[in-house]
C-alpha cells in the first residue's frame, strides 16, 4: 500500500513557549538557512520551509513518512537551539494535513499573532519562503501552499477589518486626530512636556506630515533638547497661552501635579481660532488639561484612560473580525485540500507515462537493425509517429484519473489502472519524479 504525502507543521509560538526558548531557536539570523540545509539532507523530508520570528519558530515540511520525519525535525530544532529535546518538547505543537494547512493560513493572515492583525508576519513568511526557494527546499506542494497562504492573507486583509483600527495608544491618538482633521498635513502640533509615549505620538504625527512642531517645557534647555529630536521649535512654558490660538493638536505629558492648561485659557483662545477644531491629547498622570476643556465647542480632549478605552475597543473589534477571517481561512483550506487530492493520482500517471516510455525505448532497441537503415529524417518521423500514438492512447486514461481525483472512489480507479497496465514495482521510481508530473 502506497503511503500518502503529508504536510506537517512543527513549531512554537508566543503562547506555547517562553521567550527564552524562542530566543534560543530564533536568535541567530543564520538559523533558518542552517535549518533548511539540514532539512534538505534528511531523507524523509521532501520539501521544507523554516520560519523564525521573535514570536514564533516553525518548521513546515512535506513527507511521506510522517513519524520518522517528525522525529528528525524535532531533533534538528533541538540541535539548532543547542539544547535537549526534552526541554522544549512540551512547548511544541505538531500539526498535520488539514490542521497544518489551516495553521499556516492563520499565521499568514495574522490570526495567530500576539497582536491579532499586525501586518509584519506576512512579510516574514514571504521572506522565509523566498529563502526556501533559494535553498531549493520548496517543491510543488509547498509552493502551492505558500502562494495560497499569501492569497488568504490578502483576502482576510481586504474582506475583514482585522487590520483596521489602532491598537496602541499613540497610534489611537493619531487615528482620532485624523477623524477630526481628515488630513494632518499642514497641521500644527504643540508638545508640552516630554515623555516616551508623548514623543511616540509626536513621531507618528510627524510621519503624517504635520507642518510644524513646537515643544514647551518647564526648563527651556529640556525643550531645546526634545525639539532637537524632531526638528521642532522650542518655546517657553509661558508661551503656551500665545500658541493656543495657532496650533491644532496639543500633546501634554508633564509631571506637573496640577492642570497646565485650563478651560479658561482654551476658551479665551477660541475666538482667535475662529472655531477651528482643537485636539488635546493628555497623556500625563495626573492630568495636565482641565477635563472641562472637552465641553467647549469644537474642542476635543482625550486623556490616557480615554485612549486606553479606544484601544481596548479596537482590540475587541479585531477579535470579532477574526471570526469572519476564520471563515475565509476555512473556505481556503477546503480549496487547498481539493487540490491536494488531485496530487494523489499524479504518481500513477507518472508511472503510466514511464512505463510507456520504457516500452518505446525497448521496442526501438529491438528494431534497431531495421531502423538504422533509415535516413535521419525518416528515423525522426518514425519516432514522432510512435510517440504520438502512445500519447493519444494514454490521454483518455490520464484525463479520466484526473477527473476522479477528488472523489472517494479514486483508490479503486488507481488500483484498476495499476492492474490494467501492470504498474506495480514502478511506483517507487515514479514518486521521485512527482515534481515533474504537476
Amino acid at each position: 500500500m502506497r503511503t500518502m504525502l503529508r504536510i506537517i507543521a512543527i513549531g512554537m509560538n508566543h503562547e506555547t513557549a517562553p521567550v527564552e526558548l524562542r530566543e534560543c531557536l530564533g536568535g541567530d539570523a543564520d538559523n533558518p538557512r542552517k535549518a533548511l540545509t539540514w532539512m534538505r539532507n534528511l531523507e524523509v523530508v521532501r520539501e521544507g520551509l523554516f520560519l523564525s520570528t521573535c514570536n514564533r519558530v516553525e518548521a513546515i515540511f512535506v513527507s511521506d513518512e510522517a513519524d520518522a520525519a517528525k522525529e528528525s525535525v524535532i531533533l534538528l530544532m533541538a540541535r539548532l537551539g543547542g539544547g535537549q529535546t526534552g526541554d522544549f518538547l512540551p512547548c511544541l505543537y505538531v500539526l498535520e494535513d488539514r490542521d497544518a494547512v489551516r495553521h499556516i493560513f492563520n499565521v499568514a493572515s495574522s490570526l495567530d499573532s500576539m497582536v491579532v492583525g499586525e501586518p509584519q508576519i506576512l512579510g516574514q513568511i514571504k521572506e522565509a519562503y523566498a529563502l526556501a526557494t533559494r535553498e531549493k527546499t520548496s517543491g510543488v506542494i509547498l509552493n502551492r501552499l505558500m502562494h495560497r497562504a499569501f492569497h488568504v492573507a490578502k483576502r482576510v486583509r481586504s474582506e475583514t477589518g482585522i487590520c483596521g483600527a489602532a491598537v496602541s495608544i499613540s497610534y489611537a491618538a493619531v487615528e482620532l486626530a485624523r477623524k477630526i482633521f481628515h488630513v494632518l498635513e499642514g497641521k500644527k502640533v504643540l508638545l508640552v512636556g516630554a515623555g516616551e509615549m508623548a514623543e511616540l505620538a509626536a513621531r507618528h504625527l510627524l510621519a503624517h506630515d504635520v507642518s510644524s512642531l513646537k515643544v514647551a517645557n518647564r526648563t527651556f534647555e529640556r525643550a531645546v533638547e526634545v525639539a532637537g529630536h524632531f526638528k521642532g521649535v522650542p518655546v517657553s512654558f509661558d508661551e503656551i497661552d500665545s500658541e493656543l490660538p495657532n496650533v491644532d493638536i496639543v500633546i501634554t505629558s508633564t509631571a506637573s501635579p496640577g492642570y497646565v492648561i485650563t478651560r479658561d485659557q482654551v476658551k479665551h483662545s477660541l475666538r482667535k481660532r475662529r472655531n477651528r477644531p482643537l485636539f488635546f491629547i493628555d497623556i500625563a498622570v495626573p492630568r495636565d488639561v482641565e477635563p472641562q476643556v472637552h465641553d467647549l465647542s469644537n474642542v476635543y480632549l482625550y486623556d490616557i484612560d480615554d485612549l486606553k478605552g479606544v484601544v481596548a475597543l479596537n482590540l475587541a473589534q479585531r477579535k470579532e473580525e477574526a471570526v469572519k477571517a476564520s471563515r475565509i481561512v476555512e473556505e481556503e483550506v477546503g480549496k487547498f485540500e481539493k487540490w491536494l487530492k488531485t496530487l494523489a493520482v499524479v504518481p500513477t500517471i507518472v508511472s503510466l507515462q514511464d512505463k510507456a516510455e520504457s516500452i518505446i525505448q525497448a521496442e526501438f532497441y529491438k528494431s534497431r537493425s531495421a531502423l538504422d537503415q533509415l535516413a535521419p529524417a525518416q528515423h525522426e518521423a518514425v519516432e514522432t509517429l510512435v510517440r504520438s500514438i502512445v500519447e493519444k492512447v494514454l490521454n483518455d486514461p490520464i484525463v479520466f484519473l484526473k477527473e476522479r481525483a477528488g472523489r472517494p472512489t479514486v483508490n479503486t480507479y488507481l488500483d484498476l489502472t495499476k492492474r490494467l497496465f501492470q504498474l506495480n514495482g514502478m511506483e517507487t521510481e515514479a514518486r521521485g519524479e512527482m515534481e515533474h508530473g504537476e
Binding site: 477623524k179 475662529r274 465647542s297
Partner: protein, 297 residues
Amino acid sequence: MVSLCLGVSILWFRFIRVRIPMTSPWFSLAFGLYLLAAGGFTVFIIRQQKWVFRWSYWLLVAGFLFHTMFLGYGYYQLGLAPVLDLRSALSFFAWSLVGVYLIVQVRFKLMVLGSFVAPLAAFLMIISSAMPLTAGPVKPLFKSLWLTIHVGTVFAGDALLTIACLAAIMYLIQERQIKQKRLGSMYNRLPSLATLDHINYYSIVYGFPFLTVGMMTGSVYAQVALGRYWQWDPKEVWSLVLWLFYAALLHQRLAVGWQGRRAAIMSIVCFGVLIFTFVGVSLLMGGYHSFSSMGAR
C-alpha cells in the same frame, strides 16, 4: 428602519400600480431602481463591502437615467418641466437630489453619502407615487421657458441644500461619537469631521446662488406672466425667509468663522424652513404657488 420603509414601500408600490394603471413605466422603473439602490446602500453602510457600493451606485445611476427619460417625456408632452402637482414636484425633487448627489460623489468620492441620499430619494419617490395622478390641459400661463428655468434652478439649489443638511446630520452623529468618547460602529463608517464640514460648506456655497437665481428667475417669470415682480404670495414670502436664513448661515460661516457643530445645527434648522417652504406652504397656504391652484388648470 430603512428596510421596513422598503417593505412598506414595495407594498405601497403594488397598491398604487393596481389603483392607477396609468403610471408611466419609466417612472416605475426609476422608482424600483431607487428602491433597490436604497436597499443596497443600506446594506453597504452595515457590511462595508465595496462591491455592494458599486452595485448600489450603478443601480442609482440607472434609476436616474430612467427618471430623466420620464421627466424628458413629461416635458415633451406638457411643454414645461413636469412640476405642477405635488406628485410631480416630489419626483422632480428626488431626481434633482440624485443628480446633485452623483455630481458631488464624483467630486468628493464619499461612499457613505449615498447611504443617506439614496434612501431619502427613495422616500421622496414613495410619497410621490402615493399622490394621485392628475391630468388635464395645462394653463397656457405655465407654458413658459421661464418656469422651467425657475423650477430647475430652485430645485438644484434645494438638492444641494439637502445634501448640506445630510452632511450636517452625519457631522452631528460623528461629533457626538467623538465627544462622548464612545466610538461606536458609525465612527468607522463616517468620514472625518473636517470632510463633513467641508461638504456642508460647499453644498451651501453652491446651493445658495442657485436658490438666489431661482428666486430671481421666478420673479422675472411673475413679471412676464402676471405683470408683477412681487405680490406677497405666501410662497414668495417664505422663500424670502428661507433665503434670509441661508444668507445668515453663510454670513456666520464666512464672516464670523462658524464651523463644525453650530454650522451643522444651523443648516439643519435652515433645511427645516426649506421643507416647510417646499411642502407646507404649497399645501397649507393658498396663493398662486399652491398645487391646488395649479391643479385647477
